[in-house]
Symmetry: C2
Subunit: 185 residues, 2 copies
């Protein structure tokens, strides 16, 4: 089991392992990256890997979670958030991590990424709670928020699959067009 630790050695090792995985992901498919290889790239013994993570996926999930947290910090930094601003930050964030999301999608790992981000949906809800012009039953708001998040996500994936054929402005325009029929603005 992975225990949270403050020990400098432990933190350093975990960071090295994450960096090693990210480096290797640029070179070869996820499923061909062995734990042996990750440990070697991180200059650590293989057993040390297993003392921190149960699996390659657990290591990746740690990084995905840190990404989601960074995204949330971006949202929290904004003022007077509405869904339009959320969309802007969302798009800008992923343009910034364009290489990573390409690799994630190519290796069919986007489900894990969405899961990591969905974990923070309640926080996002809280941030934007008072900015909507809903006339919707509160009970269905949860569903609506999930619908919206999933929709934005799938568009992001579509954008990745097109090999980023659209600009920041294209994507933003698309969100605006959709939002005219949707509950966010």
């Amino acid at each position: 089991m992975t225990h949270t630790s403050n020990n400098p050695s432990a933190i350093r090792s975990q960071e090295w392992l994450m960096e090693a995985l990210l480096f290797l992901l640029e070179e070869k498919p996820y499923h061909k990256i062995s734990i042996k290889e990750i440990a070697e790239k991180a200059d650590l013994d293989r057993s040390t890997f297993y003392r921190h993570f149960n699996s390659k996926q657990a290591l990746l999930e740690r990084y995905l979670d840190s990404l989601a947290q960074e995204y949330l910090r971006r949202l929290e930094a904004g003022e007077n958030m509405d869904m339009g601003k959320v969309a802007k930050i969302f798009i800008a964030f992923w343009i910034e991590h364009i290489d990573f999301i390409r690799v994630i999608r190519k290796n069919d790992l986007d489900g894990l990424l969405l899961k990591a981000f969905n974990k923070h949906l309640p926080s996002i809800h809280r941030l934007t709670k008072d900015k909507f012009s809903y006339s919707m039953n509160e009970e269905y708001m949860e569903f609506a928020l999930a619908f919206n998040a999933g929709g934005m996500w799938n568009i992001l994936m579509k954008w990745v699959d097109s090999d980023f054929a659209h600009s920041y402005d294209d994507l933003l325009k698309a969100f605006e067009e959709i939002s005219r029929f949707n509950f966010f603005r």
Copy 2:
């Protein structure tokens, strides 16, 4: 590489392997199911597995694709399709496969499932093409369709995560509520 074959032996083997995987998925987590085990359950040699599939994931994807095709057949069977009917068929379909989708979600394999279904998005678009009351640029319709599909999907996932705490009617009502703010009806 997996070559498509009509040979009865080959088809039979592939079916046995798929059935074996589905059976084992009910018993233990995906990542703990070994290929050795799948082959044994299917009464086949391990080498036969590799002659048909490159990996456990390739085997699963074959089944996911067959599921997506079945779903598409359901849609095609309907007449005068609009998005409300699509939602009904969507919900009914997954209630029918409730055990499978639970297992898929629990093992973080829903990304693969969405991918299999997204592959058929163009066909769904074609089915419902003339039934919308759009006032939307055709260029953005692709985005809107992707948004809609991703949204419905994320609600499905939310439903699974709640351990199916909502009924067919609850889900349908949620879609209707959302659609009042959305481009489909």
